[in-house]
Symmetry: C2
Subunit: 480 residues, 2 copies
C-alpha cells in the first residue's frame, strides 16, 4: 500500500499548490508555451512560482498516465489546463486515452496539430483508433501517413467499428506460434523476442494461413517438459470472437469464464487480434457510468467542472421534456377546475396520488430494466411478470390506499372523499405497474435502450393518470 | 463464437422444456429426492416426462457453473427449483457462489445440511468463506471441523472480514519461490508441482520468514535465460494490499495499472494470499448492480421472480417514506386552501413548479454522487461547485420561468399570475440546486452513502418547497 499512499500524498500536494493559487495557474497557462520548441520556465521572475512549477513537474515525472488522468478530472477548469501544460507531450497520448471523453475534448482543443501528432505516435494501434475519433478530422490522414504499411492497415481496420463492437478495442499485439514445434523451441523463440505484450497469458497457435487452431497458456509452457510438442497440450477449441461481435457479450464471457485474453478472428477463422481483460474492465466501468448519468437525465458529456453554459446546454433537453409533460398534467387538472372550485381540499390531495404512482412505477421499471440488462427475461414468462407486478400493486394499493383513505377521513371528516382517495391510489398503482412492465419491454421490442427515458415516461403517465383518476372519481362521486 | 451459440441454443431448449410444463416441473420437484441417497428418476411412469428430465440432465452435464447460475436466475420460482434439483450436489457449491445473494438463499433453503456440506467441500477456502455467511449458523462449525488444520485457519481468517474488505475475497492458493534460485530451478519446481492455480500471472518471492520481497511474472521466466537468478529480474517493489484495505480501492488500482493479481500481506509484510482480477470484476459488477437497485428504491434482495409477498415487503419502506413526504407536501398545500379557493387555476399550475424543481435537483445530485464516487471532489473547490450549480439554476430558471410565465399568461390572461409563476420556478430551481449540492456532500460528511436516499430527499424538498414558494407568492401578490 505504500505506493498508493505516497501517490495520494503527492496528489494532495499538487492540488494544494494549484487550487486558489491564481498567480501560479495564470503563470503556467500564459508562460508555459503550447509550442513544444521552448519548454523553458524562463519568462516569469517570481521565484516562488518558479519553484512551485518545478515541484509539480518533479512530482508528476514518475506518475502512471492513469493517475495523471484521475488528477486532471478532479481539478476545476483552469487548474486542469495548467497541469495539462506541464505534462510532457510524449506522455499525453496515454493520458488522453484514460480521461473520459468530455474532458479529453477540452484537452485536445488546447493542443496544436503538431503536438497532437507527437502525442499520438507512441500509442498502440488500438489506442490510436480510440483516440482518432476524438481528434480533428484532418489529423487522421496525417496520422495514417506517418505509420508503416502494416500498422496503417490495422488502424484503418480498427476505426471502422462502432464503439460497442470488439473491433473497436481489439489489440493487434500478440504472439503466434506453430503447432508442430516443441516447448523448448517456443521458449527459445520467446527469449529471442525478448519481450511479450502486456497482459499476455497465452500464445496463439496458427497454421501457415494464419488460421487460429489453438491456444497455449504461458503456464502450460512452464508446467510441461521441454520436449512436448505444442499440439499435444494446446487448447484446441478456444473461445474466440469476431470483430463485429458486441463488447457487452464479450464482457459477459470474460466474467463468466474468468478470461484474461481471447482471440479475435475474421469470418474465415483467421487470427486478427486479441481482446484483453483490461479493455473489458474499462468497458464495464464506462457502461455503468453512462447508465448512472442517463438515469438522472445527464448527457454523457457533462463534467462536474464544466462551465455554466455547457451545463445549461446539456440539461436543456430534459428540462424541456419535463416541462411538456408537466404542462400536459397541468391541463388535465385544468379540465376539473369546476370540481376543484367546489372542493379545494382535492388540490392538496391530488399530488399524493400522483407521487405514490410515480414511486411504484419507477420501482417496477428499475427491476425490469435490470432483469433485461442481465438477460433474465429472455426465456422467462413475460405474462407471469406482468401478473406478479399487478399483484404487488394490488396489495400495496389496498394497504396504502386504505391508510390514505383513513387519513383523508381524519383530516376532512368526509367518508366519501376517503373512499375516492383509496380507489384513486389503488387504480393509479395498478396503472403504474402495468406501464412499468410494458414501457421497458416495449422499448426493448422496438430495439431501443429500455434504460433511456423510461423513467421520464412512467412519471409523466402516473402524474397525468393520477390527476385524471383522482379528479375524475371526485367529479363523479363527490360533486353534489 | 460457436461455443457461445451452442450454449444459447441449449439454454433455449431447457427453458422451453421447463416453462409452461407443470407436469414436468412438478414431477421433478416431487420425485427428484433432495436426499442424495437415491438419485433415481424411478417414481414417475410417464415416458415423456422421463425423457425430458433425462434430456435436461444431459444438456447441463458439461455446463460451466456460471452458465447454470445465469439460467437459474432467468427462471421463475418453480422452474428454478426443478432445475436446481437436477444439478449434481458436487457442482452446486460453485453455482451458489455465482448466483446473486437473493437467489442463493432460496436454493440453500431447499438443501439439507448434509447436502450443503457436500456441496461446500470441493470449494476453495475463499469461496467457502463467501458462502458460509449465507449458510445456516450451525453449519459453519461442521464445515470447519471437516477441514484440515491449515485450511481451517485460513477459513477462520477469511470470515472475519466484511464484504467490502480485501480479506473477504482473498485467495489462498498461490505459488511462492525463493530469491536466490535460478530460473531453471523455478521451472523444475513448477514441472514438479504439475499445476498452478488459475489466473496465475506471477509467482511471489518470499524469504524464509514468508515476508514478501518481490514478484516474478511468468513472462519473465520465459523471456530470460535459465541461469538467471530470480533476484536479478524480479519486481522488487510490487504493489501489495492488506486484508483490511477496501475492495473499492483495490478495484481502482486493478483498473488503473491493468493488474491480473496482487499480493495480500499482513501488517508485518508477510504474504497471506492474493487478489485476482476475477474477484475484482465481480466486485465491480455487484457494486453497480446494487447502485442501480438502490437508486430505484429496491432492496438488494429483490429478485424479478420473487413471490408477491416478498416484493411487497421489499418495497414497503420506500412507499411508506414516499407517503410521508407526500403528506407533508399535501399539508403545505392545505395551508393555502383559502388562496386556492379564490384562484382555482393555481391548483393546475403548482405541480409544474414542483416537477421542474425535482428534475433540476435530481440532475445536480446525480452529477455530484458520480463525482464523489470517482473521488473527483476530494481536492476540488466545493464552493466553486455550489456557485456553478446555482448559476446553472439561475440561467435555467430565467429561461424556463419566462417560458412558463408566458404560457400562463396565454392560458389565463393574467399578467400577475404569469409573473408569480416565473419567480416561483426561478426560486424553486435555485432551492433545488442548493440542496442538490448540499445533500450528497452532507451525507458524505456524516459518513453515509450519498447515493442512498438523496433522490427521495431532494424530491421531497422540491415538492414541498415548490408548493410553498408558488402558493406563498400567489397569496401575497394575487389575492385581492
Amino acid at each position: 500500500m505504500s505506493t498508493v499512499k505516497k501517490l495520494s500524498a503527492q496528489r494532495r500536494r499538487i492540488s494544494l499548490l494549484l487550487l486558489d493559487n491564481k498567480a501560479l495557474v495564470d503563470s503556467i497557462i500564459n508562460q508555459q508555451p503550447t509550442d513544444t520548441k521552448k519548454e523553458s520556465l524562463a519568462v516569469t521572475e517570481n521565484k516562488a512560482i518558479l519553484d512551485q512549477t518545478a515541484e509539480i513537474c518533479q512530482l508528476i515525472a514518475e506518475w502512471h498516465s492513469a493517475d495523471l488522468a484521475d488528477l486532471l478530472e478532479s481539478l476545476p477548469h483552469d487548474e486542469r489546463l495548467a497541469l495539462w501544460r506541464l505534462i510532457p507531450i510524449k506522455k499525453r497520448g496515454r493520458v488522453l486515452i484514460e480521461v473520459s471523453d468530455n474532458i479529453s475534448d477540452g484537452l485536445i482543443e488546447d493542443m496544436r496539430d503538431k503536438e497532437i501528432l507527437k502525442a499520438v505516435r507512441p500509442l498502440d494501434v488500438d489506442e490510436q483508433a480510440q483516440l482518432s475519433r476524438r481528434l480533428p478530422r484532418n489529423l487522421l490522414g496525417r496520422i495514417l501517413t506517418a505509420l508503416e504499411a502494416r500498422q496503417r492497415a490495422q488502424l484503418r481496420e480498427a476505426i471502422n467499428y462502432d464503439e460497442d463492437r470488439i473491433g473497436y478495442l481489439m489489440d493487434f499485439k500478440l504472439v503466434t506460434i506453430r503447432a508442430d514445434v516443441t516447448l523448448a523451441t517456443v521458449q527459445r523463440y520467446l527469449r529471442y523476442r525478448k519481450t511479450i505484450p502486456d497482459t499476455t497469458d497465452k500464445l496463439f497457435v496458427t497454421d501457415r494461413k494464419n488460421t487460429l487452431i489453438g491456444e497455449l497458456s504461458l503456464a502450460a509452457i512452464l508446467l510441461h517438459p521441454p520436449q512436448t510438442t505444442v499440439s499435444a497440450i494446446m487448447e484446441s477449441h478456444p473461445l474466440m470472437f469476431q470483430p463485429e461481435d458486441s463488447l457487452e457479450e464479450a464482457a459477459g464471457a470474460f466474467e463468466r469464464y474468468n478470461l484474461i485474453s481471447t482471440a479475435v478472428v475474421d469470418s474465415k477463422g483467421k487470427l486478427m487480434g486479441r481482446l484483453t481483460v483490461e479493455d473489458i474492465v474499462d468497458v464495464v466501468n464506462k457502461e455503468n457510468d453512462s447508465h448512472l448519468r442517463r438515469s438522472g437525465g445527464l448527457t454523457p458529456s457533462e463534467d462536474v467542472y464544466a462551465p455554466i453554459y455547457k451545463s445549461v446546454r446539456n440539461r436543456w433537453a430534459w428540462l424541456a421534456i419535463n416541462l411538456c409533460t408537466a404542462l400536459i398534467a397541468s391541463r388535465v387538472i385544468g379540465l376539473f377546475e369546476n370540481t376543484l372550485a367546489h372542493l379545494v381540499a382535492l388540490a392538496a390531495l391530488m399530488p399524493i396520488v400522483a407521487g405514490l404512482g410515480g414511486n411504484t412505477g419507477n420501482q417496477t421499471i428499475t427491476m425490469i430494466v435490470r432483469a433485461l440488462a442481465l438477460h433474465q427475461l429472455e426465456h422467462g414468462k413475460k405474462s407471469y411478470l406482468l401478473l406478479k407486478e399487478l399483484g404487488v400493486a394490488l396489495v400495496n394499493g389496498l394497504i396504502w390506499g386504505s391508510v390514505m383513505g383513513l387519513v383523508t377521513y381524519a383530516l376532512y371528516g368526509d367518508m366519501a372523499m376517503g373512499g375516492v382517495m383509496m380507489f384513486a391510489i389503488l387504480l393509479n398503482l395498478l396503472l403504474a405497474a402495468l406501464m412499468g412492465v410494458l414501457i421497458p419491454l416495449g422499448l426493448m421490442a422496438l430495439g431501443r435502450d429500455p434504460a433511456v427515458g423510461s423513467s421520464v415516461m412512467i412519471t409523466a403517465i402516473t402524474d397525468t393518470g393520477g390527476f385524471f383518476i383522482f379528479l375524475g372519481l371526485a367529479t363523479v362521486f363527490l360533486l353534489p
